[in-house]
């Protein structure tokens, strides 16, 4: 699994790539932790860019569950964007669409979270 993150104003875009399964879930969790730490009320909003994620197992879903719980407790905002069909199906089956607001792409997600960040994104 690869992991990249970038910031647009008050939005942090975290982009894991590859398979998130038992062998990579712990790594994903570790990489995500410092980003989640600042995802609090009035602070950073987080977009999980899943366009590069090919598969996510229940172990990976557990990491997302913990992320959602943490962000909820911190009154922060976290959304997910650009899921590939396989991942989308897994999400639908396990009803994680109840957990995360999902957007077709990063642009839509950023637009929903922050006009300022969207302006930066538009500006390239």
């Amino acid at each position: 699994m690869d992991f990249a993150s970038r910031r647009l104003a008050d939005v942090v875009i975290a982009a894991p790539a590859g398979r998130i399964d038992h062998s990579s879930a712990e790594d994903f969790k570790t990489r995500l932790a410092p980003i989640l730490e600042h995802c609090t009320e009035g602070s950073d909003r987080v977009v999980l860019d899943f366009s590069g994620v090919e598969y996510i197992s229940s172990v990976g879903l557990r990491v997302l569950m913990l992320a959602a719980k943490q962000v909820k407790a911190q009154k922060g905002m976290i959304v997910i964007a650009g899921m590939q069909p396989v991942v989308k199906e897994i999400f639908d089956i396990s009803r994680f669409n109840y957990v995360f607001a999902a957007f077709p792409g990063v642009r839509a997600a950023v637009g929903d979270l922050s006009t300022q960040a969207l302006a930066l994104l538009e500006a390239g």
Binding site: S58, V59, L61, R62, M65, A68, I93, R95, F96, V99
Partner: protein, 699 residues
């Protein structure tokens, strides 16, 4: 990892101790204890044995008062008249100097006057005896004629006798305190002492009965006295005095005319011994009889001394050989002529300390991390290197470097380091053994837990005969646990005469926590599901059950797991199914005509994911003969050897073929399982695999 405790890594700790031991050894080496000096002497003596001086120049001849001379001339001491004749006989050959290693401290007992007293002679005989020349006077005359050096000795107490010595000029400092100083003198009788033109100090300090060093300059009382050899050189060269070159309080060299002999700081030199054979020597008897080889005496320095074994003037030399005292002086003279004087400059100690410190630091750094074999090679190289360096300096530069002390100190240090290193290795090994033992116990404990978990999981599964006698519905179920205990769960039971409750679920994660979590989830359902109402009430009930289970399970959820769960209540009379789905794969309804319908809706996230989620149930109506198929992801995510997933499409194909075969719930379940097994081949199942089939045969 707490049980094993900290495993000492060793190296740092050992190095600390090693540095302390090294400092102690350096301090001991610096203090030069008596033991240390013995060790040094042993090494220097070994050097003498390994590399004896080769005879090159033979400037001195020894005239021996040996057994032959005693046989011909009578017992020792000889009358002074004989000594006078001996000196005259030697002097006749014009030697460059004559040294007498005999101190004649009392008047001659053979003098005529003494003789007269001793034999109690009558007056006439006495008168005739007294008319004869006095033997002491005869010798004094002989001494005065020839270039003779009389040996004098130093005594620890003052004697009051005058000290006669040539002028000694000290240049470049004041080394008085450093040189060997005696309180009193032991000289020949006044008449002899005064007559002799030269006086040289015979005394040397023996170390453990062995002669190693000879002073070239010393002091008796307030008088500087040259060593016996230097005085010989002075007479041979015709110089008036002896010059001492000093550097502050240290003597650098002693010189006579143009012969400059470097010395240790106390004005002494270490004698580099050669074997006794090969040195020219003549018996005093032959000299007196005129039989001596003239070339051995002419223009040579002649040393006269007692060598007869009965005369007991034998000393052990550093080379280990016993030799007469006169030979030692001959060896000193030879060394001076050969430039083979051995020196141990004061800075040699620093070199030894530095060697010890440097090699010691290398050992301290290396031994704790080296294998014992390499460590032994290292210490071997250090000791051999010191020995070779020392021998090389001894042979080629005539310098005395003590290799024994640094070597012994290094061996002691090495021993300490090796012992500590081996002890640390043993401790590590024991700690490892303890850790392995602990892990074995831990594994046994986990295996026991897994077995317990398996019993929990299987023990709470519904009994196959739970619906015995019921014809309106068939239920078949099979769970194949993965290698370790999994988190799949299912259950079914009659709520009352007309209602069947069933559930299937999957706890994320494996092992005992998942298993217990599953048991708790099921128990919650069972205790809450036994209520009665209509279809709408059932839908509300099942939503409410799910909501309560979610809240309660979430509260117990210390492991941060989640559960996907599908629960349903089937009215056996009407075929109405009330259900609620918490994040589980949608069940498939297989129609009697082969049509497949996914049961959607009535859903929410898996339990524990959103703590306060409010689940709402929904309903579907089954036709008689409809088969409801519920699976866990052990089916859809079963992998073959190539890692491909079984998938929902293949499952759908199997399901679609079921009605055509007219199969009941149990046969349908078997067909699905067989197809999954076929797909997987021999691959080890990664997850629990559970299939639950419910066929409603109509009310």
């Amino acid at each position: 990892m707490t049980a094993a405790g900290p495993v000492p890594t060793g190296a740092g700790h050992i190095r600390g101790v090693g540095v302390a031991v090294l400092l102690l050894l350096v301090a001991l080496a610096w203090l030069e204890t008596p033991w240390h000096r013995r060790l040094q002497f042993a090494w220097f003596d070994a050097c003498q044995t390994l590399s004896p001086r080769r005879l090159v120049e033979l400037p001195a001849t020894v005239v021996q008062i040996d057994e032959k001379a005693l046989a011909e001339l009578g017992q020792w001491p000889w009358p002074r008249s004989v000594m006078a004749r001996l000196i005259d006989a030697i002097d006749a050959h014009q030697p460059s100097a004559i040294g007498i290693d005999v101190i004649m401290a009392e008047p001659d007992r053979w003098s005529p006057a003494r003789l007269a007293d001793q034999i109690g002679a009558d007056a006439e005989t006495r008168a005739r005896l007294l008319a004869l020349p006095d033997t002491d006077a005869q010798l004094a005359e002989a001494l005065a004629r020839a270039p003779v050096v009389l040996g004098i000795g130093g005594l620890p107490d003052t004697t009051g006798a005058p000290v006669r010595a040539p002028p000694v000029l000290v240049r470049g400092g004041d080394p008085q305190k450093g040189v060997r100083t005696f309180a009193g003198v032991l000289a020949s009788t006044e008449v002899l002492d005064r007559a002799a033109p030269g006086h040289g100090l015979l005394s040397s300090d023996l170390e453990g009965g062995v002669v190693r060093r000879m002073p070239l300059i010393g002091r008796i009382g307030e008088t500087w006295v040259p060593g016996f050899s230097m005085e010989m050189l002075r007479l041979a060269s015709g110089a008036r005095g002896v010059v001492v070159h000093a550097d502050g309080a240290r003597v650098k060299s002693v010189a006579v005319a143009d012969v400059v002999v470097p010395t240790d700081a106390d004005g002494a030199v270490w004698v580099h011994f050669s074997p006794r054979d090969g040195r020219p020597r003549v018996s005093a008897a032959d000299v007196l009889a005129g039989r001596a080889d003239k070339t051995l005496l002419a223009s040579r320095m002649v040393l006269v001394g007692a060598t007869g074994l009965g005369l007991l003037d034998y000393q052990t030399a550093a080379s280990g050989e016993r030799m007469p005292g006169i030979e030692v002086h001959a060896q000193v003279l030879e060394s001076v002529f050969d430039g083979a004087i051995l020196l141990r400059p004061h800075w040699m100690r620093w070199i030894e300390i530095m060697l010890l410190a440097c090699a010691g630091i290398v050992l301290v750094a290396a031994v704790p991390v080296f294998s014992p074999r390499r460590s032994v090679l290292l210490i071997g190289a250090a000791v051999a290197g010191a020995g070779i360096l020392s021998l090389g300096l001894f042979r080629d530069r005539h310098l005395l470097l003590d290799a024994a002390t640094p070597s012994l100190a290094l061996v002691i240090l090495f021993g300490a380091l090796l012992a500590l290193t081996l002890a640390a290795a043993t401790r590590r090994e024991r700690a490892l053994e303890r850790e392995v033992q602990r892990q074995r116990e831990e594994a046994a404990r986990v295996a026991g837990e897994l077995e317990a978990a398996r019993r929990i999981q299987t023990g709470i599964l519904p009994r196959p005969d739970a619906l015995a006698g019921e014809t309106r519905v068939e239920v078949a179920c099979e769970m194949t646990p993965a290698r370790e205990v999994g988190g799949d769960l299912y259950d079914f039971f009659a709520l009352d005469r007309d209602r069947l409750f069933f559930l299937i679920g999957d706890v994320s994660g494996k092992g005992l926590p998942a298993s217990i979590f599953m048991a708790v989830s099921k128990a919650l359902y069972k205790s809450n599901a036994l209520r009665r109402g209509g279809a709408a009430a059932d839908a509300a009930l099942i939503g409410e059950l799910m909501t309560r289970a979610n809240a309660e399970v979430a509260r117990e959820n210390s492991e941060a797991m989640f559960v996907t769960l599908f629960a349903g209540i089937l009215d056996l009379g009407t075929g109405v199914l009330a259900y609620c789905n918490a994040g589980h794969d949608d069940p498939t309804l297989v129609g009697a005509n082969g049509a497949l319908t996914r049961l959607r809706g009535g859903d929410g996230p898996p339990l524990c994911v959103v703590d306060d989620f409010s689940y709402a149930g929904t309903t579907a109506t089954l036709a008689p003969g409809d088969l409801l198929c519920l699976v866990t992801d052990g089916v859809t995510e079963a992998q073959d050897r190539a890692g491909r997933l079984y998938g929902g499409v293949r499952l759908a194909a199997v399901l679609a073929a079921l009605p055509g075969a007219g199969l009941g719930a149990a046969a349908a379940r078997e067909r699905i399982h067989a197809d999954v097994a076929l797909f997987v081949g021999g691959a080890e199942p990664a997850d629990d695999l559970t299939i639950l089939t419910v066929r409603w045969n109509g009310g």
